[in-house]
Each structure stands twice: as C-alpha cells, then as structure tokens.
C-alpha cells in the first residue's frame, strides 16, 4: 500500500524538525507512565513507535486525511494508541522466567492482573515520593487513585478544591509525571 504523492508532499512539508522533536518527547512521556520498574515498555519502544507511525503514514497503511487533521494531531493520536496497545500487549505476553515449556510459561490472568496492580502501585509510590508535603497535589492524586475520579469535574467534586487550586495542582502533578523513573531497574 502506498499513499498519494500529494499526501506525501503535505507530509513532507508538515514534518518539521520542531514537530519531530515534540513527537519524541511526547512518546517518551507516555512510555514513562507504563514503564514501571519491571520494564513493560522502555524508551526504545517510544522511538520505535514514532518511527512506525511515520512510516505507516507515509506508506498509507495508517490513514491520514489532511483535510480533517493536521499531521501533528494525527501522529500524536497514533502514538497515543500505539503506546497504550503496546503496554497491554506486553502484559499479555508476560512469561514465567523459570518455566520449561511454552504452555507452562504463560502467566495466568490473575497474575497478570496482579502485575498490573503492581505497576499502578509503583507509579503512585513514585509520584508520592515527589509530592512530599504538597497537599493539593496529594489530594488530587488520592482522588484519582482511590476514588478513580479521572475527569476534571469528578476530581473537583471529590476534592472540593477551587478551580484555580485544581489547575495549579494539576500542572504540578503533570510535571511530576515527566520525572517518573524509567530504565532504573531491569526486569528480574
């Protein structure tokens, strides 16, 4: 499958150094959240995903309609879905290290769910270490983790914070997400 020459010309024009730079940083920011300390996904995956999104768009395998979306928006969406899919795939493919054959190596569903729970705990603990005594950010994270309030309205209701306090706390929490450790420890 190949894309049209006019589409490729648009791609060529919109794939500026600034956009490509941003794609790499955003892909890495996403990967860091799913990485955990057991290496479900790593920073090299971020690079591979950006490359595959670029290649598939140029080849036409990943549909892009310039009339509906700028290249930036198209690629950021594609990266979002591919990182999510890869994180899930890696967990599904978890294998027991000491198993002797392929069938025995498959990790049971309950264990995979526990592993996912462990990943969430790692992310939360890592954030809590950075939050320190920032009460608003602690409240915000608590609402997200314990009450699963993920939307702005739900968080405001749960924490009873003012909109301004929420906005500021949200920015501080989001900044901390970029400091999540990756590649700290290899998988056992």
């Amino acid at each position: 499958m190949t894309s049209e020459p006019t589409l490729r010309a648009r791609f060529d024009a919109e794939a500026t150094p600034a956009l490509l730079d941003k794609l790499q940083r955003v892909a890495r920011a996403r990967v860091r959240v799913y990485a955990g300390r057991t290496h479900h996904v790593g920073e090299s995956d971020a690079d591979d995903i950006v490359m595959s999104c670029l290649a598939d768009t140029m080849d036409g395998a990943l549909h892009w309609d310039p009339a509906k979306k700028a290249l930036e928006s198209h690629l950021l969406d594609a990266i979002r879905f591919r990182v999510r899919d890869l994180a899930r795939k890696r967990l599904r493919e978890l294998r027991q290290v000491d198993a002797r054959d392929e069938e025995a190596a498959a990790v049971p569903a309950d264990d995979r769910a526990r592993e996912l729970g462990r990943l969430v705990t790692e992310v939360v603990v890592s954030l809590e270490e950075r939050i320190g005594d920032d009460r608003d950010v602690a409240l915000l994270l608590d609402a997200m983790v314990r009450h699963r309030a993920l939307e702005r309205a739900e968080i405001l209701k749960e924490t009873r914070m003012s909109k301004a306090a929420y906005r500021n706390a949200r920015r501080r929490l989001d900044r901390m997400l970029l400091q999540l450790p990756v590649d700290l420890r290899r998988a056992p």
Binding site: T2, D12, P17, V26, A29, L54, M58, L76, R148, R170
Partner: protein
C-alpha cells in the same frame, strides 16, 4: 479492577503527554531523535518517489530497422503484400483500412507487426 487500573494509567499518560506537548522543551536527545526521524522520512519519501516514477514512466520506444526485403518493395507491392496477409488471416484489422494515407515506411512496419 483491571480495566480501572488501565484507565488510571491511560489518564496519567494523557496528562503527561499533554504537559510535555504544551510545556516541554527540546533536549539534546529529542533534537538528535528529530534528525534521525527526518533522515528516515527523506529516505522513505525518496524511495516512494522513485517507485512512482517507475510506475508512471513513459512507454519505452525501441527503434528497429526495417527488413531489407521490405525496404526493396515499392508501394504497390507493399499494399499487395498486406492484402495477401489479410486474405490469409480474415480476422486481421487495421486502423487504416484503405491504406491510402499511410506512408510507405508505415506500411512496412505494419507488415512487420503482423508477421511478428
């Protein structure tokens, strides 16, 4: 519970990506990656461009010389030759049925094409 955990991670990943896109600054790593991506794009676009050119290349015209025995024939003989071929192959059709406006060399080429 599993889906809840994925939803939480997805929400955190979205927040991290949004923050990086809006507030992030280029780093040495990201600039190096951007150069790598751009080289990859240039290479890929060049490959696709070459494939386009090959797919839409103009028809290749090969020049060949006319057989000496046909070159020696006059127009009358050439027309008679073609008529004979038509008698032998009733299904044979030409764009120029009357052969009046066809040059002698074109008549020779027609014969070669029929017999090839």
């Amino acid at each position: 519970m599993t889906e809840d955990n994925w939803d939480l991670l997805d929400a955190l990943a979205d927040a991290a990506a949004r923050y990086e896109a809006e507030e992030g600054e280029p780093t040495r790593d990201s600039r190096a990656a951007a150069l790598r991506y751009r080289a990859f794009i240039d290479d890929r676009l060049a490959t696709l461009g070459r494939a386009d050119l090959e797919a839409h290349a103009p028809a290749r015209v090969t020049h060949r010389s006319i057989r000496p025995d046909l070159l020696a024939m006059t127009r009358d003989k050439l027309v008679a030759y073609i008529r004979r071929l038509q008698d032998q192959q009733p299904g044979l059709g030409f764009a120029h049925r009357s052969l009046v406006d066809v040059s002698d060399d074109d008549l020779r080429t027609m014969i070669e094409d029929i017999e090839s």
